[in-house]
């Protein structure tokens, strides 16, 4: 089954001290982490699938609950023709990209929100005893496949908007779509990780994290024009959620940026995503180090 060639390189990488990690071994750590993540996720998926009916029910429930957000928007549009100057298909586009990106991050990294309770009840210690990165274990902890429900409704709304939008689909615009969904998911993922890292110090901080993740994705479902400029500035420059969909979506939709930033900003999401990951990674390591020196 397992074993063979892979083992050798991982063995040498593990020989190196943890605090000072040369690039080669950092790469090995990432590979080890992904492997462990895959193992744990596979186990939870298998376990979920032993109760197939229950899985279908909870996934549908997840779909229905999250779809209510879009139903709210539809109800609104029964009374108005536009929201902040945006028509329904455009709002659906914002909603679809935000919900899809968030759905991906939530599916893959959602369990990170539980870190605080693991710190509080001491069960984090058991993760530190295993020969695989803690981040991978926390991220895969009780992987909940039912969250595909949320992802599904996001994709559905996105597909609807693509069908309803009357746009000139240039190659750039077409490429923009996967770019923004993937970068968006990575940005949300980084927020999940950074939020979890914060819980090493403040164990009840998951609410703060939720306001950025769940709150953020709801925010992004509406056009930036309905919010105050300060708020838009905040999610552009402080917590860069605006790069999940607003900035690139405005470009795709041919809309004016309320902050008056240049067009090139629309192409920044991958870069922003990489920077967010680096910062989240640093935060995570600082958090873990703090935990290991205080034990609480």
């Amino acid at each position: 089954m397992e074993s063979r060639a892979e083992g050798a390189s991982a063995e040498t990488s593990a020989d190196l001290p943890e605090r000072w990690i040369p690039r080669s071994s950092r790469r090995a750590a990432v590979r080890d982490g992904l492997r462990a993540y895959g193992l744990i996720v596979a186990m939870w998926v298998r376990s979920t699938m032993t109760y197939r009916a229950s899985f279908v029910m909870t996934a549908l429930g997840n779909f229905a609950v999250t779809a209510f957000d879009f139903v709210t928007i539809l109800l609104m549009f029964a009374h108005v023709d536009s929201l902040g100057g945006y028509a329904l298909p455009e709002i659906a586009f914002l909603y679809g990209t935000s919900a899809t990106a968030f759905g991906l991050a939530d599916l893959l990294l959602g369990p990170m929100g539980r870190l605080g309770s693991r710190v509080r009840d001491g069960t984090l210690d058991t993760l530190l005893l295993r020969p695989v990165p803690v981040l991978a274990q926390v991220a895969a902890d009780r992987f909940a496949l039912r969250r595909v429900g949320r992802l599904g409704q996001g994709v559905l709304v996105l597909v609807y908007s693509l069908a309803a939008l009357d746009l000139d689909w240039t190659p750039v615009r077409v490429l923009m779509l996967p770019m923004m969904v993937i970068s968006g998911a990575v940005i949300f993922g980084a927020v999940f990780v950074a939020g979890a890292a914060f819980q090493f110090w403040a164990q009840d901080a998951s609410e703060v994290q939720n306001s950025f993740t769940y709150g953020g994705q709801t925010l992004l479902q509406y056009p930036p024009t309905v919010f105050s400029k300060d708020l838009v500035r905040g999610v552009t420059f402080v917590v860069p959620l605006a790069f999940v969909n607003w900035m690139p979506a405005l470009y795709v939709l041919g809309r004016e940026d309320p902050l008056g930033l240049p067009d090139a900003v629309a192409f920044l999401p991958p870069l922003v995503a990489v920077v967010c990951c680096a910062l989240a990674g640093l935060a995570w390591r600082a958090g873990l180090r703090a935990y290991r020196s205080t034990g609480s």
Partner: protein, 354 residues
Amino acid sequence: MSTEGADAGDAGDAEDGFIELDGVEKVFDVRRRARGGAGAGAGGEARGGARRGIGRLRREKHQVRAVDGISFRVPRGEMVGYIGPNGAGKSTTIKMLTGILTPSGGRLSVAGIDPSRERTRLARHIGVVFGQRTTLWWDLPLIDSYRLMHRMYRIPDARFRANLERCVELLDLAELLDVPVRQLSLGQRMRGDIAAALLHDPAILYLDEPTIGLDVISKAKVRDFLRNLNAERGTTVLLTTHDLTDIEQLCKRVMVIDHGRLLYDGGLAGLHEIGRSERTLVVDLEQELPPIELPGARPVRTEGPRQWLAFPATESAAPLVARIAADYPLVDLSVREPDIETVIAKMYVDRSAV
């Protein structure tokens, strides 16, 4: 050094330090709300402190020295008891030995590895069992946890199968493999946890209170298994416990820790000598009788036909039992070990008397 104890004879050669601690310290900053008033909050365990803030938000920052300069060596293949009252620093030591916690000072080496710097590498060489919490996946059947360990630790297939088979047989797990961990009883879960800690053939096994809360039969099973493991595989075992019987039956060497310091390191007999500890003989007679008077035993309590006699823990109970059986109408009889708290309390009394 292992030679500081009164009875260091079986402490082994210090040369082959498989686990080595050298002046290890762990200091925690503890903040707590000040109780207000001038003299408040001078907590007993605090040795240094600083005040800051004002009014209702005032907090006092204490430094708690959970482990305060501990040094010892454990040679390969030894089975050592690590005992002390609650909050003595046992678990903190174990956490440093596993790499979970980074020490604040001193040097630590386990199987030649610095635990806090190379935690994940060390993980392949050690097995850990926490009596109070499980390392298994709570919602999954036991076998799923084992399968995941198999791949996580990259255990070769044949070895995994052999180890699992052995543990299942010796720890009586066959019926439990398909049961979710949360449905296991404490004793079953503990056996499951011990198996999980051994699947990757660790050279060192740490056990933190492995018999806590177990019934007599489960305790016996766990002890048998550990004795076996140590004898057959030469696994080095460090175990913390509250139960001196664990030590009596498993370890030749015992270390006593309190307030983060090592008070004793040597054989169990030596500990009893230093602590002047007494075992208790509980005697059930056929009828109520005046307290039994025998040389070498001290009547402690009488309750109807039941009597409690204390005798030095260093002495054998056999001659005493023989005499009671000969002179009194005996129905039943049992021996109780002294508890750790009493032994340690007596060690303190002795120290302050000197």
